[in-house]
Symmetry: C2
Subunit: 280 residues, 2 copies
C-alpha cells in the first residue's frame, strides 16, 4: 500500500484568496477607491525585476493599480528613503513593497523602517514584525502568511505539531517560526550554524525550507508522513527542496513553481486591498 | 567518576555586572546626572511589590535613583498611560519599568507601547522586541538578557548547540528564543500545547525554563550534560525546575534563588545607566 501524496497546489490557494478579493475591490470602486500597490526596485537584478513584473501583472488582472518605481543601482539610502516618503505621503498609494534584496550600499533596515506602518503590506518594519510575533499584525510578511494560508486551506493541523523551519531571515525564517508558534506548533528554527541539520529536520511534522539554496533539503531528511513547504525561489525556478526525493517520504508537499510563490503574491494583493479598505 | 557540576552563581554574575557600572555612574555624576529608574506598580500583589522593592533597593545600593509609582488596582488603561507619559516627559527619568502582570482591566500591551523607546529599559515595546529579534536592541528584555549574560560569564558556548526554551511569552520565552537564535543556537520553543514535551526537552544542550509553574521541569527530562537555566520565580522562591533532580543530569544549572533573578536586576540597572549615558 502506498500512502497517498498530497501536492499542495499554490495556484488553487491563490485563486481562492483572489476570488474573495473581487467583491471587496468592487465595493471600494463604488467609493471611487482603487487599491494601489507601489513597488520599488533598486538596480537591475533580473530575477528581482521578474518578481516585480509578476506582482504588477497580478495587480492588473484583479483591478488593483500598481505603480512601479525603478531606481538606479547606485541609489543611496537617503535617496531611497526619500522615494519611500513620497509614497508614504501619497493618499492614492495603499501599499508599499520594497523588493528585497537591495544593493549593498543601501541600509536595507533603515529603508524598510521608512515605510509607514499603514502601508507596510509585507510586514517588513520592526513594528510590523513585532505585531506579527505577538499575533496581532494587520499585515504579516507575505511569504510566511502564504505558508500558513496553504496549511489552513488544506486543513492541515498545526497545533501540537513539531515544525522545523530552516532559515532565520527577518522577513521569512523568523516570522514564519513565530507564526507557527502562535498557531501552537512546537517550533525549531535551524540555520547555517546548526549541527546535525538532517537529524533536526527529521524531527519535523511540518518542514519549512527558507534557505535560498537550490535543492538543499534532501529526501532522507524528511520524516515519513511530514508536510514539506518550500519557500525557496532560486534561479531557474528551483526550490530549496529536492522535490522528487522529498516527495517519497512527505505526505504533502508544495512544488516549485506553483507552490508558495503564487500564494505570496495573492497575500500581497489581499493586504493591499485591506490597506485601502482601512481608509474608507 | 562523577561528572563535575557547575552551579551557575547568579549573585556572582550580577556583582560582576554591577562593578562595571560603578565607574560609569561616577562619570555621570561628574556631569551632574544621576541615573534614574521609575517603577510602576499597579495594585497590591504581594510578590510584585516584593520585586519592585528589590529593584528599588538594588538601585539605592549602587547610587541609582529610583522612583516608585504606586497606582490603585482599579486603575484604567488611560490612567496608567497618563502616568507613563508623565515619566516619558520627565528629563530626570531615564528608565521606565511597568511591573508585570497588571490587573485584568488594563490593556497591558497598550501600556507597554506607551513607554518611549529611549526609556524602555526592559524591552517591552514592540519596537524594542523587534530590534532585539533582529539583534540590534539597545535594551533587550532583562530576563532574557540575564540568561545570555550567565552563559557568557561562564564561557558556555551557544553556537551550534540545541537550545530548548519552555515558554513563549512576549517578555521571556519569545525574546530569549530569538536571542539564542541570534547567538547561533538551534532553537526549539515549547509551550502548553507541545506534545511529548519531555522528549523535546531531552533534545536540549541548553534548556531554559520560563513556564511559571513550580518544579515543572523534571530531572529525567534533562539530557545528561545539559545546561539548565531556570527563569521561574514562583511563590516561596521556587523555580520552574525540580532543581535537586535536574542537577543529577545537568552539567551546569542555575539555582533559585540566586540564579537568574539577581542577574535580571543587574541588567535592569545596566540598561538604566546606559539610558542615562545616551543623554550626555
Amino acid at each position: 500500500m502506498t500512502a497517498e501524496k498530497l501536492i499542495l497546489d499554490g495556484n488553487r490557494v491563490a485563486s481562492d484568496i483572489k476570488e474573495t478579493l473581487l467583491g471587496r475591490i468592487n465595493l471600494l470602486s463604488e467609493k471611487r477607491i482603487v487599491p494601489c500597490l507601489a513597488t520599488i526596485l533598486v538596480g537591475d537584478d533580473p530575477s528581482s525585476a521578474t518578481y516585480v513584473r509578476m506582482k504588477g501583472n497580478a495587480c492588473k488582472r484583479l483591478g488593483i493599480q500598481s505603480i512601479r518605481i525603478d531606481l538606479p543601482k547606485n541609489t543611496s539610502t537617503s535617496e531611497l528613503i526619500a522615494a519611500i516618503n513620497k509614497l508614504n505621503a501619497d493618499p492614492n498609494v495603499h501599499g508599499i513593497l520594497l523588493q528585497h534584496p537591495v544593493p549593498n550600499q543601501i541600509d536595507e533596515r533603515a529603508a524598510f523602517e521608512a515605510i509607514s506602518i499603514e502601508k507596510d503590506v509585507d510586514g517588513v518594519t520592526t513594528l510590523g514584525f513585532a505585531q506579527n510575533a505577538f499575533g496581532f499584525a494587520d499585515f504579516p510578511s507575505c511569504t510566511p502568511a502564504a505558508i500558513i494560508a496553504i496549511l489552513d486551506y488544506y486543513n492541515i493541523p498545526i497545533e501540537g505539531k513539531h515544525a522545523v523551519v530552516i532559515g532565520r531571515s527577518p522577513i521569512l525564517g523568523k516570522p514564519v517560526s513565530l507564526m507557527l508558534l502562535n498557531k501552537n506548533a512546537t517550533v525549531t528554527t535551524c540555520h547555517s550554524k546548526t549541527t546535525n541539520l538532517e537529524d533536526v529536520v527529521r524531527l519535523g511534522d511540518i518542514v519549512v525550507a527558507a534557505v535560498g539554496k537550490p535543492k538543499f533539503v534532501q529526501g532522507d531528511w524528511i520524516k515519513p508522513g511530514a508536510i514539506v513547504l518550500d519557500a525557496g525561489y532560486n534561479e531557474g525556478n528551483i526550490g530549496d527542496v529536492d522535490y522528487d526525493n522529498c516527495l517519497k517520504n512527505a505526505s504533502a508537499i508544495t512544488p516549485v513553481p506553483a507552490g508558495v510563490g503564487p500564494v505570496t503574491i495573492a497575500i500581497l494583493l489581499k493586504h493591499t486591498v485591506e490597506a485601502a479598505e482601512k481608509l474608507t
